[in-house]
């Protein structure tokens, strides 16, 4: 069960059971949708941009514990961040979930997202962990950096 308990850490199970910032926003400025055609999971992320920062963010999803928890934690960590900061965090997360920094400890900057480290042992589930992030940044990816993220894909 060790790899399993590493995958389904308390914090993941908790966010799965009690997702934070769940639902749509009344005054969102944009929304992004993501789906995984492999499994049919769907997520919609709503956010409100004000003076270059993410003032509010929420999500709605039908998905597994990993995608649900990742989306929930994402809304917590990105709230109040500037678009550039948010993109940097996404890039950092992706690097630590995939090959680039796949064997390294999660940096403190990623906070609770470190709980997603267990996903690295389950390559088929990495898409689950990045689904909501893609839904957000694929739509937000107007900047050159955002586009680059898109092209490299997961």
């Amino acid at each position: 069960m060790s790899e399993l308990t590493e995958l389904y850490q308390e914090i993941i199970l908790d966010h799965n059971k009690y997702p934070r910032n769940y639902g749509s926003l009344v005054d969102f400025t944009a929304k992004g949708e993501g789906n995984n055609p492999l499994c049919g999971d769907e997520v919609t992320v709503y956010w409100k941009l004000g003076s270059g920062a993410i003032e509010a963010i929420s999500f709605q999803a039908r998905g597994c514990a990993i995608s649900q928890a990742s989306a929930s934690m994402m809304t917590r960590i990105l709230k109040g961040k500037s678009v550039a900061e948010a993109q940097e965090l996404f890039q950092l997360l992706r690097r630590h979930l995939t090959q680039a920094d796949g064997d390294k400890e999660f940096p403190e900057k990623l906070g609770d997202l470190a709980a997603l480290a267990g996903v690295r042992k389950y390559p088929a589930r990495i898409k689950c962990a990045t689904l909501a992030w893609h839904a957000l940044f694929d739509k937000m990816g107007g900047s050159a950096q955002g586009r680059e993220l898109l092209i490299r894909g997961d």
């Binding site: 399993l4 492999l38 499994c39 049919g40 999971d41 597994c64 514990a65």
Partner: protein, 408 residues
């Protein structure tokens, strides 16, 4: 146990069933995705490549004749297996998906027009939806969908009401890959024919579970995949009534399907050659023949009875788990159970089961419209074959109870 089949002995025929997953014995319950292969099939494949490998229908040398004979013998074996009237009614394709595309393109494209209707059902696999959508886009035909009831059976009154002189094709699963439902296809063929429509049966989930007689069913086409019949991937079958096949243009162009080629005009072979362009999966066809021979050596009705008993037993065990909901409660089912567990996503179920060595499938099983109909995006599916046991069903149940605690 109500039957006498020797499961322990059958399991010895399937080497992969003795795999250990992280130290635990494999419990393979993903047979609706693909079945495992007995030694008889693996040996036939190896023997073919060691002793008979050559291209077919064109060489005059010793090996070419051996390979051609083996391939054509496999065709006869399949014809016997389906009780086709003649072996020329059997076309080898890659699998069910290619088979349905062949019929959609070689029958649908030339014979369907504006306003014609194609009847499908809510429970169809995407492979029996998308090829027909391509026909509709190209020819202006329309899809009509036979709905399913809450228990996962076809609404036969709706079927009768949907049939009309506009109906040209009825295409449906003999058995559903997501619900397990065995559809009343014989009666449906009769009704469709009475309206002048032809019928295609997707037998992917049927042939591995029970005997099929295409003459008795009187269907116009029947398709299945070898890999779901204990043979290899990449070789499957289209059965078509000979006159029907004779009236159809080729599916793909290439070598081996022609009589004569000039730049001005090419003439095509008679069926089945017309529909087998290029070098086919010769080894796969030979292996499929071997799989059918293997099944022929078992008492198929006893296997069916055993699987039915196993399904009842597993259904009973799973039903006792609180929060577990089974999708597909038809009175006639093949041995698979799709379910959801309250508070746990099917993917998480599959991942945790895998840690216990249990292989199941989670997702929409290529039946998104069906899942949408039930208002869900995914289910977990445990699918059994005659080599599975009651003990394995018990292991599944125990693991599921553990998952409930973990995610509780």
């Amino acid at each position: 146990m109500t039957t006498t089949i020797d499961v322990a002995s059958i399991r010895r025929d399937f080497p992969i069933l003795h795999t250990r997953v992280g130290g635990r014995p494999l419990v393979y319950l993903d047979n609706a995705a693909t079945t495992q292969k007995p030694v008889a099939v693996l040996s036939a494949l190896e023997k073919h490549y060691k002793e008979s490998n050559a291209n077919i229908h064109r060489g005059v040398h010793y090996l070419a004749e051996r390979a051609t004979d083996a391939y054509e013998l496999a065709r006869k074996t399949v014809a016997g297996f389906l009780n086709a009237a003649r072996s020329e009614e059997i076309i080898f394709v890659r699998g069910t998906t290619e088979g349905i595309n062949l019929i959609a393109q070689s029958y649908g494209f030339p014979f369907l027009g504006e306003g014609d209707e194609i009847l499908l059902t809510t429970m169809e696999h995407h492979a029996n939806i998308v090829p027909w959508q391509l026909v509709c886009e190209r020819n202006g035909a329309k899809l009509r969908i036979i709905p399913v009831t809450d228990s996962g059976e076809l609404d036969m009154e709706a079927f009768t009401a949907l049939l009309s002189e506009r109906t040209k094709i009825v295409s449906l699963a003999h058995a559903s890959n997501a619900l397990g439902t065995v559809n009343p296809v014989k009666a449906m063929v009769d009704k469709a024919h009475a309206c002048g429509a032809i019928v295609l049966l997707d037998g992917a989930q049927a042939v591995g579970h029970f005997p099929v007689d295409v003459q008795d069913l009187d269907c116009d086409f029947y398709v299945f995949s070898g890999h779901k019949l204990f043979s290899t991937t990449g070789a499957g079958v289209v059965y078509g009534k000979y006159d029907r096949l004779q009236s159809m243009p080729p599916f793909q162009g290439g070598g081996d399907m022609i009589n004569k080629v000039t730049f001005e005009k090419t003439t095509y072979k008679r069926p089945p050659g017309r529909f087998e362009a290029g070098t086919p999966n010769i080894g796969g066809a030979v292996a499929l023949g071997a799989a059918i021979e293997y099944l022929g050596g078992l008492d198929r009705l006893a296997l069916l009875e055993y699987e039915h008993d196993l399904l009842q037993y597993a259904t009973g065990l799973l039903s006792e788990i609180e929060g577990l909901k089974i999708y597909g409660r038809a009175s006639e089912k093949v041995s698979l159970i799709s379910f959801t567990l309250e508070g746990v996503h099917p993917h998480d179920i599959a991942t945790v089961l895998d840690a216990d060595g249990i292989a199941i499938r989670a997702g929409h099983h290529c039946t998104q419209p069906l899942h949408r109909h039930y208002g869900i995006s995914a289910t977990a599916r445990a699918s059994f074959a005659y080599y599975n046991t009651r003990e394995e069903a018990e292991k599944l149940t125990a693991s599921l109870k553990k998952i409930k605690l973990l995610f509780g």
